[in-house]
């Protein structure tokens, strides 16, 4: 008997008990849909992070103090972490031919005031190299320049949000604002940038690093943002930075150099684990669905004992019967699988529309895997009932009431 005919017979049998078939399918539908939805949420989060970190630029390296960022270990006892200072950043640029920009960054928060208005915001100390390094643009006025940094000029560039809060629609250029106790002249306003890496680049005030050390009364850098000459030399630049800083830090590597890829990798790992755990839990419901199918198939085999007997009497082999019931459970499961895929894709597309902070991206592989597994579940749950049916003695089966 051909496969097409066997499938037709299965569909007929499933149609006879329509409600029962649909309810049985539901387990698989939910399982498959859940797998697809959870994977696409995970995938969405991954893409979101990639986009966020991607905005750093692929040839950006970030040097942070301490050796903890990646290994995640704790420093025990005596090993005091030496801070990164302004001169470290300058030295990196001077010594490594692979580095174009090396920016010492200090971050703090402070009140900024202009006449009656004020705002508590991030104050970021940078050099003139920061803007080209991070691809930030000044919309109005000018960028910091070397002299601003060298001569510790009290000048500042405002993020969009800060500008709006303090000045409204007025032109802020040339005005003096108060940051902490000092007066700073506004020389520029940033182009709107939005949120990246969890902090709002519009809600900041940039000042020269040299001024920031005075403002926050520290020479410890938040990080050193380095831009390599090109993507190809990122690794060379990284090696150079390590070498240079290790020498300055008495041979100890008490700092960490992170590239965008490494940051992505760490985040990606966490996400992969989370996604797998969630998808695994969803897969359990697929197994439960399979048990449901097995249960119904056993009932169905019993109900159709006479039919099995008759089919055997008119010439069906054991294999014919086995195959018929196996096909039935597989068809049932696959219909559930396809429905579940539809539902999963639908919900995955709908979620970001309804909940704006939940990105989702349908992973093609998850659709195939879900389809494959629903087929597998169908076969696995059909084997036992089908074997049972195939082994019926036709004489006994024909007499069954």
């Amino acid at each position: 008997m051909s496969l097409v005919e066997t499938i037709k017979i299965s569909l007929d049998a499933l149609r006879i008990n329509k409600v029962r078939s649909i309810l049985t399918m539901l387990g698989v539908v939910i399982g498959v849909a859940a797998v697809i939805i959870l994977v696409s949420l995970g995938e969405g989060a991954r893409q979101y992070i990639r986009k966020e970190f991607g905005s750093l630029g692929t040839n950006i390296l970030i040097v942070v103090p301490g050796k903890t960022a990646r290994e995640g270990g704790m420093h025990m006892g005596t090993s005091a972490v030496r801070k990164l200072v302004y001169d470290d950043a300058l030295l990196i640029k001077r010594r490594s031919i692979h580095v174009v920009y090396s920016v010492p960054v200090i971050v703090g928060t402070s009140w900024v005031k202009y006449r009656g208005r004020s705002r508590d915001t991030y104050v970021v100390g940078v050099t003139e190299e920061y803007f080209p390094a991070r691809n930030l643009q000044v919309d109005l006025g000018r960028n910091l320049n070397h002299e601003d940094v060298q001569y510790r000029r009290r000048v500042c560039i405002l993020g969009r949000t800060v500008k709006r809060d303090l000045f409204g629609d007025r032109n802020p250029l040339g005005q003096a604002i108060k940051i902490g106790d000092g007066r700073y002249r506004v020389i520029g306003v940033m182009k709107r940038k939005g949120v990246t890496l969890g902090y709002d680049l519009d809600d900041v005030v940039f000042i020269p690093t040299t001024v920031a050390t005075e403002l926050f009364d520290t020479d410890a850098l938040f990080n050193i943002t380095v831009k390599a000459r090109s993507e190809e030399v990122v690794d060379d630049a990284k090696r150079d930075i390590r070498e240079i800083l290790r020498r300055r830090h008495a041979g100890r590597e008490d700092f960490t150099v992170l590239s965008q890829d490494e940051m992505l990798e760490v985040m990606g790992k966490v996400l992969t684990i989370m996604t797998s755990v969630l998808a695994g839990i969803a897969a359990i419901s697929l197994i439960v669905g399979g048990i449901g199918i097995m249960n119904i198939m056993l009932v169905s085999v019993r109900e159709r004992t006479r039919e099995i007997g008759l089919r055997k009497a008119v010439g069906a082999t054991n294999e014919d019967i086995l195959f018929q019931f196996l096909t039935e459970s597989t068809v049932l499961s696959l219909i559930g699988g396809v429905t579940g895929i539809g539902l999963g894709i639908g919900v995955s597309l709908l979620v970001p529309q309804l909940v704006s902070y939940l990105p989702s991206k349908i992973a093609t592989w998850s659709v195939f895997v879900a389809f494959f597994f629903s087929g597998l579940v169908g076969i696995a749950s059909g084997v036992y009932p089908a074997l049972k049916a195939a082994r019926y003695d036709p004489i006994v089966a024909l007499r069954y009431e």
């Binding site: 008997m1 051909s2 005919e5 007929d12 006879i16 006479r306 039919e307 007997g309 008759l310 089919r311 055997k312 009497a313 008119v314 010439g315 069906a316 082999t317 054991n318 294999e319 014919d320 036709p394 004489i395 006994v396 024909l398």
Partner: protein, 211 residues
């Protein structure tokens, strides 16, 4: 149904010729059905020899037995054993399905034999929409659709009133006149009367009424 071992058939020596209409009678529990199951290749004898159309049946495996049932045997049961959800013609085509006949051809053949048993206009009816006599004639159509060597009827009138029973037996007699070999099991002498030869099975031994 216990697991015990009961010897049902002891001395059965039977030869049925092509084109014969044989009735086997006997009280219930005499082993009529067991004999018929063996003849129909649903069961194998524990001892002895059974030749069907020159084939030694006791040597065959399950798969070959299924093929023999499919091609050489046509069963007619007391309780019809029609599949309730299928229209008459789909019940009739069933043996052809397991023979791998093309669907179109199957339907054609099914309709042909339904016409032969006088149910051409009932082809699309489900068993529940047919009378008992009609259902049994659908079953007969199913039994003959594959052109079997022998038709086996196990109390074919057992569930029917006498009028439809009579009609079913008429149908069988006509088939026999057209050349079908028929072995009929019944405990009803009137029904057995349709056969040319009547045998009695008693305590495991088969006797010819007229010998």
């Amino acid at each position: 149904m216990g697991r015990g071992w009961i010897e049902v058939l002891k001395g059965v020596d039977l030869m049925v010729n092509r084109g014969e209409f044989v009735a086997i009678m006997g009280p219930s529990g005499s082993g009529k059905s067991t004999l018929l199951n063996i003849i129909g290749c649903l069961d194998r004898p524990t001892e002895g020899e059974y030749l069907l159309d020159g084939i030694r049946v006791e040597d065959l495996g399950d798969r070959e037995l299924a093929e023999i049932r499919n091609k050489k045997i046509g069963f007619i049961f007391q309780n019809f054993n029609l599949l309730p959800r299928m229209p008459a013609w789909r019940n009739v085509e069933l043996p052809l399905l397991y023979r791998g006949v093309h669907p179109k051809k199957r339907k054609e053949m099914a309709l042909q034999v339904l016409e032969k048993v006088g149910l051409a206009d009932r082809a699309e009816h489900r068993p529940s929409e047919l009378s008992g006599g009609e259902q049994q004639r659908v079953a007969i159509a199913r039994a003959i659709v594959g052109g079997p060597t022998v038709l086996l009827a196990d109390e074919p009138t057992g569930n029917l009133d006498s009028a439809s029973g009579w009609q079913v037996m008429e149908t069988l007699r006509n088939l026999n006149r057209e050349g079908s070999t028929i072995i009929l099991v019944t405990h009803n002498p009137e029904v057995a009367g349709f056969a040319e030869r009547i045998l009695t099975l008693k305590e495991g031994f088969l006797r010819d009424e007229f010998s």
